[in-house]
Symmetry: C2
Subunit: 930 residues, 2 copies
C-alpha cells in the first residue's frame, strides 16, 4: 500500500524537469556529507543513511554517492556515462584518496572500495555489488602484508576477480567454479576455506588465464578502469530481469533508477587493533535500556555471524580497546537519540579506528517493544502517540499467552503443522475424549485434547485441557472459536494428522502417537512437537485473573499504562463476547466496556441443561415444550443475573437462540449405528423404541446445510415460545438485579435477520414480554432491540431493517460464510490450498486467497457489504448504534476497517480486548495521519 | 404496484383546484350519458362503466352518478350535502322519472332505485349499498301486483327495511334477525324462503314497530327522504373502519372519495316476458367465437347463479323472445367490439325490454386465451402486441402439460397437498424406490415415485415414473429441479405425508397408502388424490416431441403463431438448460436459441459413468485419478458432440464440474450402518475392508454444509486434472463436429467463482488446453470463457471478475441461497411457515415472506446484487454478455426483471422455453408502455 502511494509521487517527480546545476555526486564521511537522510529520492536509501550518519559526526567509511539522476542520464545516454559526470566522479575519487590518505594502486596504502547499488526502495539482492575493488597483482601483496594474513588477501583477490568477471565482464561463474574445484581436487580438500594461501595464489593465476581466454584481454589491473566498469555494470543491473520482476511485484516504478555508493573498504582483520561486531542500543529481548554488543578482534563481519569463533561481550571491549569502547557507547546513544528508536548497528574498527557500517531500527520481542516504548515516553524521547504506533498488536499478545521456553524448544522434534487458531504454548499428554481428559486432569496431569474436530460434547474436555489439536476445521471452527473463548491454546486443521480415536492413537506422517504420549502445541505458529516443552507463564494474565497483585508486576504496569494511553486515543468502543460471568469479569479486567455478544446457546450446552434442551426439542406438542421451557427459564435468568452483576453500568447485548436445534441432539449416523447394533444384538425393546423415537426427531430436524437452515430468528418465529422464554429471562433478570442497585443495560439482539418482517415479528414478542415483565416487577428498564447483520440480504435491505432496530451488530463470521459461500467448518482444506497456489494477475504472482477471510475481514467483498449496510442503515436511522461481534472484532486490520467505516464499537473474546484497545488507538492515529 | 402509481397521480389531482362550474351529477341511460368511460376519477369505476355502455347505445337501467367531488364536498361540509347539490340531485331525479315514465311513490308505476357506492378502485363489499329504495306501504302492493308475486314484493320490502335500518338508521341487524326468527318459529319453518307472503307481511309489520321503537319515529315512507338519507349513509360508509383498513392494505388514498350511483331497479321476475341471464361473447373454455349465454324467464339474477332452476340456453331465447335474442346478440357483439376483448355480461329483460347490468372482461382457460387473442388479431380487432399482453404465461403452460379430465376429477378424494413443483397431471401406482419403479414400468404399468426426498440414485426411477411425490424439500429441491428438467409431474414438500419406505407405505393424515395403490398428483396446484384420474394429453407437446405433425393440430398452430409474434417483439434471448442431446432437441423445437447451462455433472450420474466417477474420487493419488479421468474423457466427449450437433449454429454454455464430490459416493450414515451390520454378522472380511476404505474417503469428503464446501471452481483449482479433462472433452468434441460441418459455439463456464484469482486460475487451464487441442486438430474454434455469478462476493467484485470473462451467467438458485442464507434443500419448512405468518408493517398485515424466493427472484435483495454485478461488470467490460441460468430464468416476473436490468438472455428448462419467449415479449411491451 505504501508502495502504491510512493509510486504515484515518484512518477510526478519524474515529470518535473531536473534543475540545471544539480549535483550528480554526493560526498560523505569525516563528520559531514553533501547529502541528507531525507534525500532518498536522489541518494537512495543506503546513500541517504550514510549521509545522515556522516552529518551526525558518526564515523563511517568515506565515500560518495552517485545519484539516481545519473542512473536515468546513463540510460538516456545509451547506457554510457557522459564525460562531465565521469569527470565529476574522478573529482570525488581524488577527494576520497586525499581524505583517506589511501590511493588507488598505492604500494603501501592502497585504496580499496566497494561499489554498491542503492535505490529509494530496498530491493535486497536484486542488483549487483562489487567488493574489494582496487585489488590487483600489486595491491594484493600489500594487503597480505598489512593484515599479516596472506590467505585472506589472496582469497579476497580471487573472489574479486570472480565477482568482477561475472558482473562486469559477463563471464559465466561456472567456469570459475570448475577451475576452483580442480585445484581443490589437486590439494585434496573439500571446502574453499581449506585452501592455503599458496593454493589460492594458484587459483588467481588460473582465473586470470580464464579471463584472458574469454575476454581476449588481461584482467584489468588499473583500479580506475575497474571502478568505471563496475559503475556501468551496477547501473545496468537496475534492469536485469530479476530486478524488473521484483519491482513489478512490489509496485516500484521502473523509471526511478538506482543510486550507487562508492565507499572505502575497511577491514576488521588488520591485526589485533582491528575488529568487528554487531550491537543493539537496548536489550532486544527485555527492552532494558542497556547497550548490548558482541565483537571479535582481528575478524571480518561474517565471522561474527557465522559463529565459528565465540564473540566477546561489550565488557571485554572496555578492557581491550577502551577508546573504541567509549566511542561505541557514545555513538550508540547518539544514534538512538537521533533516530528516536532502538537501533541495530554494525561496526568495524581498523587499527583502532571505529567505523559504523550500518544502523537500522532493531527488531525486538513484544515484551521489549512495550518496555522500550514506555521508557522512551518517560525519557521524553517520543510522544505517547508515537509509542502506540510502534507497538504492534502481536506485541501485546506476547504479554498474554504462555510461551515455550525459547532455550528448550530446539531440543524437540516438530511432527506436523496446522492452522494457529488460539495463541499460546501448551504441552501435555494426548487424550482423545473428554472423559479421559477429565479423569487425567483430576489426577493432576496436563492433557492436550486431540480430535478429528470438536463438537459441543467436547466442551468439558476442552475446559480441562491445556490445548486442543484438531485434524479438521478452519480458524473459526468450533474448536477454534471455543478455544479462543476459553483462552486455550488451539491448533486446528492439521490436515496430515490421521486421528484414529477408536484405537486411541493418531498418526502424523509415519509417526504414531498414542494416548498418554506427550506433545506440545504452539498456537502462535500452528506447530506441533513431540514431547513436553517447558512453558513460561504470563504475569499479565495472572493479574487479570486476579491471581497476582498488579503492583507485583512491572510487566503489568507497562502493559496497563500503555493501554490507558490507547484508551485516551481511540474513538471505537471495545466490548467483549462473553457468555458467562467469569468470562465477563476477565474481559472487564482487560478493559472491556460492555458485552457485544452474549450467546445464549452456549448456556444450554452445560451438562445440567442439555437434557432439558433435548426434552424441549423432542416435545411432541407446544404444551409439552412449554413445560421444558418453564424449567429452563429460572436457569437462564440466573445466568443473566450473574452477567449483569459483572457488567454493572455497561451494556450487555444478548443474542436470542441461534443454532439449529439438532446441534443439541445426538448425531444421525451415530444413532443409526446404535439402533442397528441394538437390533442385531437383540437389545432391550424399550431402549430401542426410545432410540428410534429420538432418531425420528433427529431425522426430522436433520438438514443438508444446517448453516443455511432452521436457525437464528427462524427458530424464534416458528417457535415463538422459545423467544418468549428468553426475553422473559432477560427482563426478569434485569428487574431483579436493578433491585440490588446494579445498573443494567440490556440490549436484545435478534440473529440471522434477512428481512424487515423477521425483525418485526421478533420485536413484537420482545416488546410485549418486556412490557409485561416490567409491569409485574413495577420497574422500568431501559433496553434496546437490535439485529445481527450476518445474512448478505440484511446488508442490502439495511435501510428497511434499520427502521425497526436500535442497533446493528455485524456477525462477520456468518457474513463471510455467506458472502464467500464458505462453510467455516469445511473451508479449511481449500482455504489452505488457496493460500499456497498462485496465479498471475497483471503480471504479478499472487495467491488465490491472500488472507484467510475468517481471520482478517475481506474488505473488498464482505467489507463492501458492511459499508453498504452502514450507509443504508444510518440513512433511515441516523442514531443507529453499530458494532461488530464476529471473530474479526479482535483482528487489528479488521479493527482499523471498523474504525474507518464509522462503527461505534468492536466486540471480541475477552483475551483479545487489550489487543483491540491498542488496535483501535492505532486506527485513530492512522486516520489522523492521512 | 399499479395502486402506488395511481396513488401519486391522485394526490396530485387533489391538489389542483376544482374548476368552478364542474358538474356534480352525471346522467346516464337512453343511449347517451353525461360522462364517459375514461372519467373514473370523477365517476368511479361503476359510474364510468355505466356511462360508457350508455354512450354505446346499450340499454342500461336509467340513472345518474353523483361524482367523487361531491363526496369530498360532503366531508368538507360537515358530512352534509350543500343545498345546491341537493337541488342538482333533485333535478336529475326528475329527469330519471321523466325518462323512465316511473315516479317515486307512484301507485301504478312506482320508481324503485338502487343506491350504490363506486370508487375509482374496486373495494368489493367494503362500502354500503341500498336496493329497492322507493318501496313503502303503498308501492309494495303495486310491486306485488305488477310481478304477480306478492311473496317477492313483501320479501323485497322487508329486506329493504332491514337494509335501510341497518345502513341509514344504524339499528342493530340482530334485532331484525330476532324478529324474523320468531315468526319463522311461529310458522314452523327453517328457511327464510319458506315464509309465505302473509308471513312476510307480518315480518314487515314487526320491523316497522322495531324501527319506531328504536328511532322514535316511523319508517320513512317518502322515497325522496329515503333517497337522501341513503346518499348520506353511503357517503359516510367511505370512512367506515373496514373501508379504511382496506384502503391502507391496497395503498388506496383516503382522500379520493367515492362516487355514488342512483339507478332504476329493473326486475326479471315481472312475469313471462321478463327474465335474467349471464353470458360470454365467446366460449370461455375453448375460445370459439360464438356467443354463449344462459337465462331464466321470470326470475331474478340470483336464481341463475343459485342453480335452483336449470337455466336455458341461448337457442331457446331465440324461440321464446326473438326480439330480446336479436338485441342480446347484437349488443354482445357491440360490447366486444367496443371493449376489444371477450366480455362476461349480465342482463335482465323486464316486460321484454332488455337491460345490460354489467359487462367486464371474461375469465378464460389458457386454451381459450390463446385462441381468442389469435382470432382477434386475425379479425383486426386487436394488434399483435395487445394479443401478447393479454396472454398470461400460465395460459401457455396449459398448452404444455397433461391435465386431469375436468369431468372426472370430482369423483376422486384429495388426500393431501404439497408444493406444486413441476406442472402437469399424473396418475399411477405408488412405488417407493427406483428398482420397483423400473420393474413395474417394464410391465407397462404407470407408477408414481413417492420418496421422503429424492437423490441422484432416484434418477432412473424418476425417468420411468409418471410423476414424483416427496414429503420434503422445496420447489428447487432435487426432485423439483430434476422433475422439471425431465418434464415429470412433481409435487414436493407434502409435509404431512409420512413415508415409511421400509414398510412400503405412506400415511397421509389417517389414511394409509400402500405400494401398488393408485394415486393422482396435480403439479399445477400440488394436490394429491387417491385413485387413477384420467389424464388428457397435450397436442403441443406431441408436436414438439415430434410425435404429431404440426399441421395436424390447430392448437399447435395458434400456439406457435403467437410465440412467433412474441419472438418479433422480445429483446431478450431465450436459451435452455439442457444436459443431453434429447433435452437440447426438445428445447430447440420449443424455440430455444442456445444452451445457457449444460451441467456436466448430470452426465456423470448415469449408470455407466458413476463407477468411473467413484473410482476417480477414491483414487489414492494423481496417477490413479488420471487413469479414471482418461476413461471418462471419451464418454464426455461423445456427450458434448451429441449436444453440439443438436445445437448447430447456437451457442452452448458448458459449466465445469460443480457439485461436491461426495454426492457421487454412498451416504455416510448408510455406509456406517452397513459396516456395523457386516461386523456384527461376521460378513466377508474382504467386503468389510472395501467398505471401510470407502467409508474413510466418504468421511474425508464429508462436509457439514456441502453447499458451502469443496465444490465449483474450488474442485477445479484443487484438482486441475478434472478441469483439464473436461476442457479437453469440450474442445475435442468441438473440433470433431466442426469437421462434420456443424457450426459449434462453445462457451466454457466456471462455477462458484468469488474472486478474480479463481476465474484466472481456471482460465489459465482452459486457454492452455484449448490451444493444445486446436493445434492437434489443426482447427480453430471460436470459444469464450465466462463465469457464474452465484456467490454474493462475485456480485460485489464483478468489476474485477469481468476483466477476465467474456460472459456472466447469474446462477440465481445459489445466489438466492447465499443471499438469504437459505439452503434450498432445507428451507421448505420455514419458507412455508413464513408465507403463512403475518406481521404488521406500517399498519398493514403482510406475510413474513410474500413469495418463495426460489420461485420468483427477490428483486429487493438478490435483485439488488444482480443489478450491482451488471453495473460493475459492464463498467470494466462493456461488451460483457449477461444471462441467467437459475430456475428463475423460467419465471415470468423474474424474466421481466432480467429484461429491465439489461441482461442479454434468460435460460430455462426446455419446457419453460415457450413461457419465457412470451414473458420476454411482454417485458418489452411493459417497458415500452412506461
Amino acid at each position: 500500500m505504501a508502495n502504491t502511494r510512493h509510486k504515484k509521487s515518484m512518477i510526478r517527480k519524474r515529470v518535473s524537469k531536473r534543475k540545471s546545476g544539480t549535483k550528480n555526486v554526493y560526498f560523505f564521511g569525516g563528520g559531514k556529507a553533501d547529502g541528507r537522510g531525507d534525500m532518498k529520492d536522489l541518494l537512495g536509501g543506503k546513500g541517504a543513511g550514510l549521509a545522515e550518519m556522516s552529518n551526525l559526526g558518526i564515523s563511517v567509511p568515506l565515500g560518495f554517492t552517485i545519484s539516481t539522476d545519473v542512473c536515468r542520464i546513463f540510460y538516456e545516454n545509451n547506457k554510457r556515462l557522459p564525460k562531465n559526470i565521469e569527470e565529476d566522479i574522478d573529482g570525488h575519487l581524488n577527494k576520497l584518496e586525499q581524505l583517506s590518505g589511501k590511493k588507488f594502486g598505492h604500494s603501501q596504502n592502497p585504496l580499496l572500495v566497494s561499489v554498491r547499488s542503492g535505490a529509494k526502495f530496498s530491493m535486497p539482492g536484486m542488483m549487483d555489488t562489487v567488493l574489494n575493488l582496487g585489488l590487483n597483482d600489486k595491491t594484493v601483496q600489500v594487503l597480505s602484508d598489512l593484515t599479516g594474513n596472506p590467505r585472506f588477501a589472496w582469497d579476497a583477490y580471487r573472489r574479486f576477480i570472480q565477482m568482477f568477471s561475472d558482473i562486469v565482464l559477463k563471464i559465466d561463474k561456472e567456469q570459475f567454479e570448475k577451475r576452483l574445484e580442480k585445484i581443490k581436487r589437486k590439494y585434496r580438500v573439500k571446502l574453499d576455506v581449506e585452501l592455503s594461501a599458496k593454493a589460492l595464489k594458484e587459483v588467481v593465476g588460473d582465473y586470470r588465464k580464464l579471463v584472458n581466454k574469454k575476454s581476449k584481454r588481461d584482467f584489468p589491473q588499473d583500479p580506475r578502469k575497474q571502478l568505471f566498469s563496475a559503475i556501468n555494470a551496477v547501473f545496468l543491473s537496475w534492469n536485469n530481469p530479476r530486478a524488473v520482476f521484483y519491482r513489478k511485484q512490489y509496485d516500484i516504478p521502473d523509471d526511478i533508477g538506482t543510486a550507487l555508493n562508492v565507499q572505502m573498504m575497511v577491514f576488521g582483520n588488520m591485526g589485533d587493533k582491528s575488529g568487528t561486531g554487531v550491537g543493539f542500543t537496548r536489550d532486544p529481548a527485555t527492552g532494558v535500556d542497556q547497550l548490548y554488543a558482541e565483537y571479535l578482534l582481528n575478524a571480518q563481519g561474517e565471522d561474527v555471524v557465522a559463529g565459528i569463533r565465540t564473540p566477546k561481550q561489550l565488557e571485554s571491549l572496555h578492557r581491550e580497546m577502551p577508546g573504541v569502547y567509549r566511542q561505541l557507547t557514545k555513538t550508540a546513544k547518539a544514534l538512538e537519540k537521533h533516530f528516536r528508536d532502538m537501533q541495530d548497528f554494525e561496526f568495524t574498527f581498523e587499527h583502532g579506528k571505529l567505523y559504523f557500517l550500518q544502523t537500522r531500527t532493531g527488531k525486538r520481542t513484544g515484551i521489549a517493544a512495550l518496555k522500550i516504548a514506555y521508557d522512551m515516553v518517560k525519557e521524553s524521547l517520543i510522544k505517547r502517540e508515537e509509542a502506540l504506533l510502534r507497538i504492534e498488536p502481536d506485541h501485546i499478545e506476547q504479554f498474554l499467552f504462555p510461551v515455550f521456553n525459547p532455550k528448550e524448544i530446539n531440543k524437540f522434534k516438530q511432527i506436523t503443522k496446522g492452522l494457529p487458531a488460539s495463541p499460546g504454548a501448551a504441552a501435555g499428554k494426548v487424550v482423545f475424549n473428554s472423559d479421559t481428559a477429565i479423569k487425567m486432569s483430576n489426577r493432576g496431569e496436563r492433557v492436550i485434547l486431540v480430535r478429528k474436530e470438536t463438537s459441543p460434547d467436547d466442551i468439558h474436555g476442552m475446559a480441562v485441557s491445556e490445548g486442543v489439536l484438531t485434524a479438521r476445521g478452519g480458524r473459526t471452527s468450533h474448536a477454534a472459536v471455543v478455544g479462543r473463548q476459553m483462552g486455550k491454546v488451539c491448533v486446528v486443521g492439521a490436515e496430515d494428522l490421521s486421528v484414529e480415536d477408536n484405537k486411541q492413537l493418531f498418526k502424523a506422517k509415519e509417526k504414531v502417537i498414542k494416548e498418554g504420549d506427550y506433545i506440545s502445541i504452539d498456537g502462535f505458529q500452528g506447530k506441533v512437537f513431540l514431547g513436553d516443552i517447558p512453558v513460561i507463564s504470563s504475569e499479565v494474565i495472572q493479574v487479570t485473573e486476579e491471581k497476582l497483585k498488579p503492583d507485583k508486576s512491572d510487566n503489568y504496569k507497562i502493559f496497563s499504562t500503555i493501554l490507558k494511553w490507547a484508551d485516551k486515543t481511540r474513538r471505537l468502543g471495545i466490548r467483549t463476547n462473553a457468555d458467562t460471568p467469569s468470562d465477563a469479569k476477565i474481559a472487564v479486567n482487560f478493559g472491556a466496556e460492555g458485552i457485544g455478544l452474549c450467546r445464549t446457546e452456549h448456556m444450554f450446552f452445560q451438562e445440567d441443561r442439555i437434557h432439558l434442551m433435548q426434552g424441549m426439542i423432542l416435545s411432541k406438542n407446544l404444551k409439552e415444550r412449554q413445560t421444558y421451557l418453564d424449567k429452563l427459564l429460572p436457569i437462564q435468568k440466573e445466568d443473566f443475573k450473574g452477567i449483569f452483576r459483572e457488567m454493572n453500568g455497561y451494556p450487555v447485548t444478548i443474542r436470542l437462540l441461534d443454532p439449529p436445534l439438532h446441534e443439541f441432539l445426538p448425531k444421525l449416523e451415530e444413532l443409526m449405528v446404535e439402533i442397528k447394533e441394538l437390533e442385531l444384538n437383540g437389545g432391550s425393546p424399550r431402549v430401542l423404541k426410545k432410540k428410534k423415537k429420538i432418531l425420528n426427531r433427529v431425522e426430522e430436524l436433520h438438514e443438508f446445510n444446517p448453516m443455511l437452515g432452521l436457525r437464528g430468528c427462524r427458530l424464534g418465529i416458528l417457535m415463538p415460545e422459545i423467544s418468549r422464554m428468553q426475553v422473559r429471562a432477560i427482563m426478569e433478570a434485569a428487574c431483579e438485579v436493578k433491585k440490588e442497585g446494579i445498573k443494567v443495560i440490556p440490549e436484545i439482539m435478534v440473529p440471522l435477520v434477512g428481512m424487515l418482517t423477521e425483525i418485526k415479528a421478533q420485536k413484537e414478542i420482545i416488546l410485549e414480554i418486556s412490557k409485561h415483565v416490567m409491569k409485574n416487577y413495577k420497574r422500568k428498564i431501559k433496553y434496546s432491540v437490535g439485529t445481527m447483520i450476518e445474512v448478505p440480504r440484511a446488508a442490502v435491505v439495511a435501510d428497511e431493517i434499520a427502521t425497526e432496530t436500535d442497533f446493528f451488530s455485524f456477525g462477520t463470521n456468518d457474513l463471510t460464510q455467506m458472502t464467500y459461500a464458505y462453510s467455516r467448518d469445511d473451508a479449511g482444506k481449500f482455504i489452505n490450498a488457496y493460500r499456497e497456489r498462485k496465479v498471475t494477475i497483471n503480471g504479478k504472482q499472487v495467491e488465490i486467497l491472500q488472507n484467510d477471510p475468517f481471520s482478517t475481514l475481506d474488505q473488498k467483498g464482505v467489507g463492501e457489504l458492511v459499508k453498504m449496510a452502514i450507509k443504508k442503515g444510518r440513512n433511515t436511522s441516523p442514531d443507529l448504534k453499530i458494532g461488530i461481534c464476529g471473530e474479526h472484532g479482535g483482528d487489528p486490520a479488521s479493527i482499523e476497517f471498523c474504525h474507518k467505516v464509522g462503527m461505534n464499537y468492536v466486540s471480541c473474546s475477552p483475551y483479545r480486548v487489550p489487543i483491540a484497545r491498542l488496535a483501535a488507538a492505532r486506527s485513530t492515529l492512522a486516520k489522523d495521519k492521512q
